[in-house]
């Protein structure tokens, strides 16, 4: 993964930890959770519209990872493998939410929420601008521009070709710049 660059020693220690977890050590798995949960949350939050959904996605993701740990090959990068699982869990939650929203009455439709407590104009405007982006474009934008993942990694996580991730990012940036143009001219 390009965003968090793992040192060779760290990679070896993590591989050993994964092997211990595969052999049934709960302590080793708890250490993997401790190390990777923040990054996993960031991935989930980039995909999910709400904080609550992102938290559910992280829990689902770790649970899936735990159940599938036997199939994980320790020579792979654990973080990349885990983030793919978490991204899948987040996409699943998004799909389920869409179905629920489609069944619900129009006035109960959920809209993306980005920290209701925010007060500054920039954050308020940003939240609104992000809310109008299509889900996938928003995910690609956050994963790339905020979390620092490459197009290839984003493509793998979201199950889309790298070129699509590139094009989504271009469109998302263009929409945001258009929506927030006056902020730049004010400065």
């Amino acid at each position: 993964m390009s965003a968090p660059t793992a040192e060779p020693g760290h990679a070896d220690a993590e591989r050993a930890l994964v092997r211990e977890a595969q052999a049934g050590s709960e302590v080793a798995f708890a250490r993997l959770v401790h190390t990777h949960m923040r990054r996993a949350y960031a991935v989930a939050r980039a995909i999910c519209a709400t904080h609550e959904d992102a938290e559910d996605a992280v829990q689902d993701g770790f649970l899936h990872a735990y159940k599938a740990l036997e199939r994980f090959r320790p020579e792979q990068a654990f973080a990349a493998w885990l983030n793919r699982i978490v991204a899948n869990a987040a996409l699943d939650i998004g799909r389920r939410r869409k179905v629920r929203d489609a069944d619900a009455l129009p006035e109960t439709l959920s809209v993306p929420q980005f920290d209701p407590s925010e007060r500054s104009e920039l954050r308020g405007r940003l939240g609104i601008a992000l809310g109008v982006l299509p889900d996938r474009q928003r995910s690609v934008l956050v994963l790339h521009d905020v979390e620092g993942y490459t197009h290839g990694e984003i493509g793998t996580m979201l199950g889309i070709p790298e070129g699509t991730a590139r094009s989504d990012l271009h469109h998302a940036r263009a929409t945001l710049r258009e929506r927030l143009r006056d902020l730049w001219s004010e400065r």
Partner: protein, 123 residues
């Protein structure tokens, strides 16, 4: 990490990217992360019994030890039983005055002689 222009005009660390990062960060600071870690581990622990290979992994070492012990006991028992059987056979041979093979062949020879005698003497 590349420093190409991101959302705003000033690169990755511009105000807009920072604002976006703040908006997406969970409220509650360290307490949130501690709580999330606890919730993840609790969910994993509650699903523990559903995962067959983890149960197997837990019992793998005791099962391997028990298997090895059973194999050693079985090998010893087989060896001991062979020894007892061969000792008994030697004792039986030592105890008998006529070898069973000799008795069998004598009996056969006598029967054949009787048939020849009956043929010669017979009408």
């Amino acid at each position: 990490m590349r420093m190409e222009p991101r959302i705003g005009p000033d690169g990755r660390d511009d105000e807009l990217t920072r604002a976006l990062r703040e908006s997406l960060a969970p409220a509650g600071g360290e307490a949130f992360w501690e709580g999330l870690e606890r919730r993840i581990l609790a969910r994993v622990a509650s699903s523990e019994n559903d995962i067959w290979w983890r149960q197997f992994a837990r019992w793998r070492r005791p099962l391997a030890l028990a298997g090895a012990a059973a194999a050693v006991v079985a090998a010893f028992a087989a060896h001991h039983s062979n020894q007892v059987r061969s000792l008994a056979a030697y004792r039986e041979i030592d105890a008998s005055t006529v070898a069973p093979v000799q008795v069998a062949s004598e009996t056969e020879r006598e029967a054949s002689r009787d048939v020849t005698l009956r043929y010669v003497v017979g009408p």
